[in-house]
């Protein structure tokens, strides 16, 4: 098992599919990336491109119809052992979840059981991982609630419906780091809240990360949040990572037509009134994906070669890998824009 020193999580060649009536849906195909200690990785892309599926796959909580077809997910434990998450037993997997890798789901409104008090969910979580000292757990949880700027006592004893959406999101965030995990996956953590709450959540997240040093996998439609939070950004299209690189590289020198399209679809305050360019068409059918590059039917840079063979993921600049035959033209096109 090859894995570099600082790598916490190494996803290698993972494919995930769902069984549907019409056939097999290739939701994630041959995805690879490394997540380093303290790194923040943002996954961007349209709805249905496989971001959430990938993350559910990492903690092995796919819906019943979902299956991980191939690949390895290597995880480095605190004592330096490397384990394949896909090879863990049911019991080991249960212990892995939340204690090693926590996941804060999108729409935290429904993430908490409406008939159980927050404190009981906290105790439940701790007890599932063998921590039975209630006084200690309570103390730690109250401290974390204070850090995410919640009124600790009130929130601890509240039912979920007594809290606002932003508060619930922060409850989940604090609960997510209760067991001091090495990896925190955030699935659209700011989608359902207003812009001010969004700010608070991002600040709180940054503070927690600085204090605790966990790595983050961050799913977002919102490119500005990705730009702000991430060290590394990966663009996903039709279940594949089509471009991955350091955040400034990817946002200022995009080399994949799809990343460029996403960037051009965002309004820019600095440039003033300017026509927004959206990407024509919609994501492809994942049961029978188009041949060659899956993006070719929507791509303005398409050539004959793109229709025939799928482009491989190639490192074109340090740490910047892209799967596009026409990356030079895309790069040249993107420069005058900025």
């Amino acid at each position: 098992m090859s894995i570099s020193d600082s790598t916490i999580l190494s996803v290698q060649d993972v494919s995930i599919s769902y069984l549907a009536h019409r056939g097999k849906v290739r939701a994630v195909s041959r995805v690879s990336f490394d997540l380093h200690q303290g790194e923040s990785l943002a996954l961007i892309g349209e709805s249905g491109c496989g971001k959430s599926t990938l993350n559910l796959g990492i903690i092995r909580l796919l819906p019943k119809t979902g299956r991980i077809d191939q690949g390895k997910i290597l995880y480095t434990t605190r004592d330096g052992r490397v384990v394949d998450v896909l090879g863990l037993s049911e019991r080991e997997m249960r212990e892995f979840r939340w204690a090693e890798c926590a996941m804060v789901f999108q729409a935290a409104l429904n993430s908490l059981n409406p008939v159980i008090r927050v404190r009981d969910m906290v105790y439940d979580t701790a007890q599932a991982h063998g921590r039975h000292d209630r006084v200690q757990i309570r103390k730690r949880m109250l401290e974390l609630f204070r850090r995410v700027r919640l009124d600790p006592e009130r929130v601890f004893n509240a039912y979920p419906h007594e809290l606002s959406g932003g508060m619930r999101q922060r409850v989940l965030l604090a609960l997510g780091v209760l067991l001091n995990p090495q990896v925190v996956i955030l699935d659209e953590p700011t989608t359902a809240v207003d812009i001010l709450t969004q700010r608070t959540i991002l600040e709180v997240l940054r503070e927690l990360r600085a204090a605790m040093g966990f790595s983050i996998i961050f799913i977002s439609h919102d490119l500005s949040i990705a730009a702000e939070m991430a060290d590394t950004v990966a663009t996903m299209y039709a279940g594949e990572i089509v471009e991955i690189g350091p955040v400034e590289e990817l946002f200022y020198r995009p080399r994949h037509a799809y990343t460029l399209g996403l960037l051009e679809a965002v309004p820019k305050l600095s440039v003033g009134a300017q026509e927004l360019v959206s990407i024509p068409g919609s994501p492809p059918d994942l049961i029978e994906p188009p041949p060659g590059c899956k993006f070719h039917p929507r791509c303005p840079f398409v050539t004959e070669r793109c229709r025939r063979e799928p482009p491989p993921l190639v490192e074109e600049a340090p740490g910047h890998r892209v799967a596009c035959f026409e990356s030079a033209r895309v790069l040249a096109h993107s420069q005058p824009v900025r």
């Binding site: 979840r97 993430s111 159980i116 439940d124 599932a128």
Partner: protein, 360 residues
């Protein structure tokens, strides 16, 4: 100074009193109680009028019986029947109603018409425990089976258990309980001779001395088996199907996935997150069903000769024993109303979102 303040003080005292009264009347508890009382009164009044609209009256029914058995003229039979009962069929209905209501306010259900001298309440109290025991036991068994089987089916949706039980439950759910009772007697009793029909009917072997003896309790239980089995098979399908769909809905909830992501054991997720939440709507239904325990047994008790409140009611209807019928209907109405209140309270206790009046 004093002269002007004291009337004001009195006035504000009264105002405060009225304010408190109004608040009490608009309060949730008071409103519910008042509503319940109103419902009971309305049901009582309706049945009072309706049962007197049935053809014949107790005296005529008794007179017809005498004519059939003793070959006397109808006039003679009628006068004999009239002298037997403390009931005047020619009294205006309004008068009867006012008299009845006046007694009822003192919780006096009156005397039975056909068995003169026996208070209706005594009879009801004598029959009621048998019905509560048999129907209640049936309900409890049925509910328990429904919860567990329904949940298992939702968990292994699309499996053999799911498919077989869904079909079976739908069929059972569609057959009325009296058909099931007749089928049990005809097929299991008469055709297959799994039990002796003559011995199984009734509610207890009359030759056994009542008491806390193993023989007596055994006899009570063995006679309750048939009605209980009937109640269970007639209602279990509904519970299973409801629990199944409720569990499926709950399994799709985000908080179940999150509970799993938090590393909770399968068992903990199953009980505290799926089971508990899926059961919420069923608990309300259970409470309401408890209300129908009393009324839901009429035909079954008749078929099995099980002398409970239902059998008592049919006997009373045949004899047009107005006061006895009225008494039973009143018990049914009260139990339904109380069960509904219980359902409200219970739901509030189980689901904090619908708790009312606590914040004030």
């Amino acid at each position: 100074m004093e002269a002007t303040t004291s009337p004001q003080a009195v006035q504000s005292g009264w105002a405060a009193f009225w304010k408190a009264t109004r608040r009490a009347l608009t309060g949730y508890t008071a409103r519910t109680l008042l509503q319940g009382l109103l419902t009971i009164w309305a049901v009582m009044t309706f049945t009072f009028v309706l049962i007197r609209q049935m053809p014949s009256n107790p005296v005529q029914i008794e007179a017809e019986r005498i004519v059939r058995e003793e070959l006397v003229s109808y006039e003679e039979a009628y006068s004999r029947a009239a002298s037997l009962f403390d009931f005047d069929p020619n009294q205006p209905i309004i008068e009867q109603y006012v008299e009845y209501l006046a007694k009822l306010i003192r919780l006096d259900f009156g005397q039975s018409i056909t068995s003169a001298g026996t208070p209706v309440l005594d009879q009801i109290l004598q029959y009621l425990p048998w019905t509560v025991f048999s129907v209640g036991l049936g309900l409890l068994i049925s509910f328990t089976i429904g919860i567990f089987v329904g949940m298992a089916m939702a968990y292994w949706r699309g499996g053999i258990l799911d498919n077989v039980v869904t079909a079976l439950a739908s069929i059972l759910f569609g057959i009325p309980n009296y058909i099931i009772a007749l089928l049990i007697i005809l097929i299991l009793g008469v055709q297959l001779k799994l039990f002796s029909v003559a011995e199984a009917l009734g509610r207890v072997d009359p030759t056994i001395e009542p008491g806390f003896t193993p023989e007596y309790i055994g006899s009570v239980l063995s006679h309750a088996i048939l009605p209980v089995v009937t109640y269970v098979s007639a209602t279990v399908g509904g519970w299973i199907l409801t629990m199944k769909s409720s569990t499926i809905a709950t399994l799709g909830e985000e908080y179940v996935t999150v509970a799993q992501a938090r590393g909770l054991s399968q068992w903990r997720v199953l009980t505290a997150y799926v089971g508990r939440n899926a059961m919420l709507p069923l608990v309300t239904r259970l409470a309401i069903s408890i209300g129908f325990v009393v009324g839901g047994s009429v035909i079954i008790e008749d078929i099995y000769r099980y002398r409970g409140l239902g059998k008592f009611l049919t006997t009373a209807i045949v004899a047009r024993d107005y006061t006895s019928m009225q008494g039973v209907f009143l018990v049914i109405a009260v139990s339904v109303v109380v069960a509904n209140m219980l359902a409200d309270v219970l739901y509030g206790a189980l689901d904090p979102r619908v708790r009312v009046g606590k914040e004030q």
